[in-house]
């Protein structure tokens, strides 16, 4: 080559060939995917993953033609599902977040299960609140499992302090003052003083009586017990600025700053430590949380109990659960429906007996034999029947985030608002007034229909 080289054809080929080879190598990495595949998409911990894959594998044994493929997506589930929807690669069956499920159903991407309820009784006879109707008579499915909000407590803490354990039936639910009184008895600083005793050091609390969770799932039951809801019957005006709602929020905040029987959010920190750990270590006397915590609580190695929530009038709790749906594109409707019933059968999935999930079919709440099939074990304490099962059946209402339209925007606003009041520095009525003004300004767009009675 000389001082002024030209690019020879050979140079081009050399470099171009390298690139082509690269693509070729990439291509050889492609895995083969067979036909007759049936994809089941889900999230969960490694424990849930094992349970679901075991369930899928026993379902596989009943299938000859179909290959069931678990698509385990540990995190960023919405992101992946959106990408799959946009590219037309949706699974056959899968978990979906409520708002996205309604959206996909309205777009015709999910199968309407209503026509199959007679043919598959285990699908048709579930708790009425667990159904997701996106339009009159059109149902995208039910929750994958049920959950309710209850009180967990550490028996030793109660025995030690002489406090009364939380009642195990709705009929005996505490009124607020009794709840606060018992929380006082449980709370103590490092030198053993109670919040109502002189010299109590709020910076050095050894045990808090309870938790004042500002998560909407935790306060929704209280709100309902006071006789109001997040929205009125029209679904377009909020009741969160009603005197009852303001009083309810004020009571929660007073637990932290007035009575000092519950940790403030800054004392608690956000995702640490978990409720089960705090109960087990005696740092907490009681806690209001979802029933799913029973799995952790029952494995934390301490004497625990479960009870109903305090009530501001009529005892109420929240029932909730993310929907599972069949995608409309599936070529295997029949098998999908079979699997849909199969996946919520406590005999097939051990997550029911381990305490993580509650069943959906009504018979598991009413028929003693069916009840025993999932609660007759170490995870479920004796009072579970009245404190959780009956409570769910008679006193629960579906979580509003599963019913309201435009819930993502509403939920963001409610979360930010509760973060404002939970510092204890802002006036609850004023903040709720601001919240209501924004909600009523077109953000509330009504509710989805309920299951026909």
């Amino acid at each position: 080559m000389t001082g002024s080289p030209n690019l020879s054809r050979r140079d081009v080929l050399k470099i171009g060939g390298g690139l082509a080879a690269t693509v070729g190598i990439g291509g050889s990495l492609a895995a083969c995917s067979g036909g007759n595949e049936f994809e089941y998409m889900f999230w969960g911990s490694t424990g849930e993953q094992d349970a679901i894959e075991a369930m899928l594998s026993s379902f596989q044994d009943t299938q000859e033609q179909l290959t069931i493929k678990p698509v385990y997506t540990p995190a960023d589930y919405d992101t992946k599902l959106n990408a799959l929807v946009a590219s037309g690669n949706v699974p056959d069956l899968g978990y979906v977040q409520p708002a996205m499920a309604y959206r996909l159903a309205e777009q015709g991407k999910l199968l309407d299960l209503a026509p199959y309820f007679d043919e598959y009784p285990s699908l048709g006879q579930r708790l009425p609140g667990s159904y997701f109707y996106w339009d009159e008579g059109k149902c995208l499915g039910t929750q994958g499992a049920n959950e309710t909000v209850i009180t967990f407590y550490n028996r030793a803490a109660f025995a030690e302090t002489g406090a009364q354990p939380p009642p195990a039936s709705a009929a005996e639910a505490w009124d607020w003052d009794t709840y606060v009184e018992n929380a006082y008895l449980l709370t103590a600083d490092q030198s053993g003083r109670r919040p109502d005793e002189a010299g109590f050091d709020p910076a050095q609390v050894a045990r808090f009586g309870t938790l004042a969770s500002m998560w909407s799932g935790a306060w929704y039951g209280l709100l309902l017990s006071a006789g109001v809801d997040v929205v009125d019957s029209s679904g377009t005006r909020t009741m969160l600025d009603s005197p009852e709602a303001i009083d309810m929020f004020q009571k929660l905040i007073d637990l932290m700053y007035e009575h000092r029987v519950a940790p403030s959010p800054s004392q608690l920190g956000n995702n640490a430590p978990s409720m089960a750990v705090q109960l087990a270590s005696g740092r907490l006397g009681m806690a209001v949380d979802g029933q799913w915590a029973l799995l952790d609580v029952s494995q934390a190695g301490f004497d625990f109990g479960v009870g109903v929530l305090p009530s501001l009038g009529t005892p109420k709790t929240t029932a909730m659960g993310g929907p599972t749906a069949i995608f409309a594109d599936t070529e295997y409707v029949e098998q999908a429906l079979e699997l849909y019933a199969f996946q919520s059968d406590p005999d097939q999935v051990d997550l029911f007996s381990s305490g993580l999930w509650m069943p959906l079919e009504e018979k598991y709440y009413t028929d003693p034999e069916a009840i025993a099939s999932w609660t007759d074990n170490d995870a479920h304490p004796p009072e579970y029947k009245t404190a959780v099962i009956d409570y769910t059946l008679e006193n629960s209402q579906t979580y509003f985030t599963q019913k309201l339209r435009n819930i993502e925007e509403i939920d963001r606003l409610i979360t930010a608002t509760t973060e404002r009041i939970q510092t204890g520095e802002e006036d609850v009525a004023t903040v709720m007034g601001e919240l209501a003004a924004q909600l009523n300004d077109g953000m509330l767009q009504g509710v989805y229909p309920s299951a026909p009675q």
Binding site: M1, T2, G3, P5, D11, L19, T22, V23, I25, G26, G27, L29, A30, A31, S33, E39, W43, G44, S45, T46, E48, Q49, K69, P70, V71, Y72, T73, P74, A75, D76, Y77, T79, K80, N82, A83, A86, S87, G88, N89, N271, A272, P273, S274, V277, A280, S281, R283, A300
Partner: protein, 310 residues
């Protein structure tokens, strides 16, 4: 003048040699003492800083040896009691981590190779060859990383889907051979900045001797660019090692999963198994710590311009 700043390749060390000799001759004991004191002070600063920096790692180790209850006990404990050694076998058998390691290494091999070669080549062109539109093209490339990936993710996913490449390593590896399309532009930019700091007289002399740009790139520039190459290798390797969203989106069969996905299973959508997560994290980052420890030796002063070895 040019000779000092930009020695030609033929006689690079001449001025330095004299300077060193002169310095060696002058008596500098007092200055030496003062320097010794300064160094001791700096050493102390360094040591103090190191303690601050090592806290997270110590935290990780102690958490890896704790039960979930201990990890979050308040006030926090630093010594596990008891040592939860079982976290390690439990974490490492919860998922087929050997398989995930293999998958990750396959992706690493392609991505690191592709990125280093094509990014440095392109950067060589942008830094040391003159062609019409060069700066415009570079600006366009750079603009590609200014648009949040969240909105290009779906179109990109659809493209790979149309090409039938879902659940393969193709979407994760092939872009690397196109100068790391997307985020790889940062690497081109980085190489470019370093290449721009190398005196052009080196290329000039080579071209006079009849070399072509490829030869200059391969025989002159790249050997001088070891430190930056090491940086790109480290960053790319760690980027792939920790990449979570890419594998999550493109891989569905869990036999194709990578280490980062395996780790994520311990902190799923609604639950976390902290002890296992910490134990697995610890095992998973050890290789990259070793990698860094080994590669950082290439950050040795005086290689680039003086051409002096050692």
């Amino acid at each position: 003048m040019t000779g000092v700043l930009a020695p030609g390749p033929k006689n690079p060390s001449a001025p330095t040699a004299t300077a060193v000799q002169r310095r060696g001759r002058s008596p500098r004991t007092r200055v030496g003492e003062a320097r010794g004191l300064t160094r001791a002070g700096l050493w102390l600063v360094l040591a103090f800083g190191a303690i601050v920096m090592i806290v997270p790692f110590v935290w990780l180790i102690r958490s890896a040896l704790m039960t979930d209850a201990q990890i979050f006990s308040s006030p926090p404990a630093w010594i596990p009691d008891p040592f939860a050694w079982e976290n390690f076998p439990q974490a490492l058998t919860a998922q087929p981590f050997a398989r995930y390691f293999l998958n990750t290494m396959i992706i690493e091999l392609f991505v690191v190779t592709g990125t280093v070669i094509t990014c440095s080549l392109s950067a060589f062109s942008f830094a040391r060859l003159r062609w019409r539109g060069r700066n415009v093209v570079f600006g366009l490339l750079l603009s590609g990383v200014m648009l949040p990936y969240a909105v290009t993710l779906i179109p990109t996913f659809v493209m790979w889907s149309e090409l039938g490449a879902l659940d393969t390593f193709i979407p994760l590896t092939v872009p690397a051979f196109f100068a790391g399309a997307g985020g790889g532009v940062f690497n081109i930019f980085l190489f470019r900045q370093f290449f721009l700091s190398i005196p052009y007289e080196l290329d000039e002399a080579a071209y006079i001797d009849g070399a072509n740009p490829w030869t200059v790139y391969w025989r002159i520039i790249m050997p001088l660019a070891k430190p930056v190459t090491v940086v790109v290798v480290i960053f790319t390797f760690i980027g792939v090692w920790n990449d979570f969203l890419g594998p999550l989106l493109y891989l569905t069969d869990d036999s194709n999963f990578t280490l980062a996905l395996g780790l994520a299973t311990f902190q799923s959508t609604y639950t976390a198994q902290w002890g296992l997560l910490m134990a697995a994290s610890l095992v998973v980052i050890l290789p990259i710590i070793v990698l860094f420890f080994v590669l950082q030796r290439y950050f040795v002063e005086g290689v680039t311009l003086t051409g002096l070895k050692g």
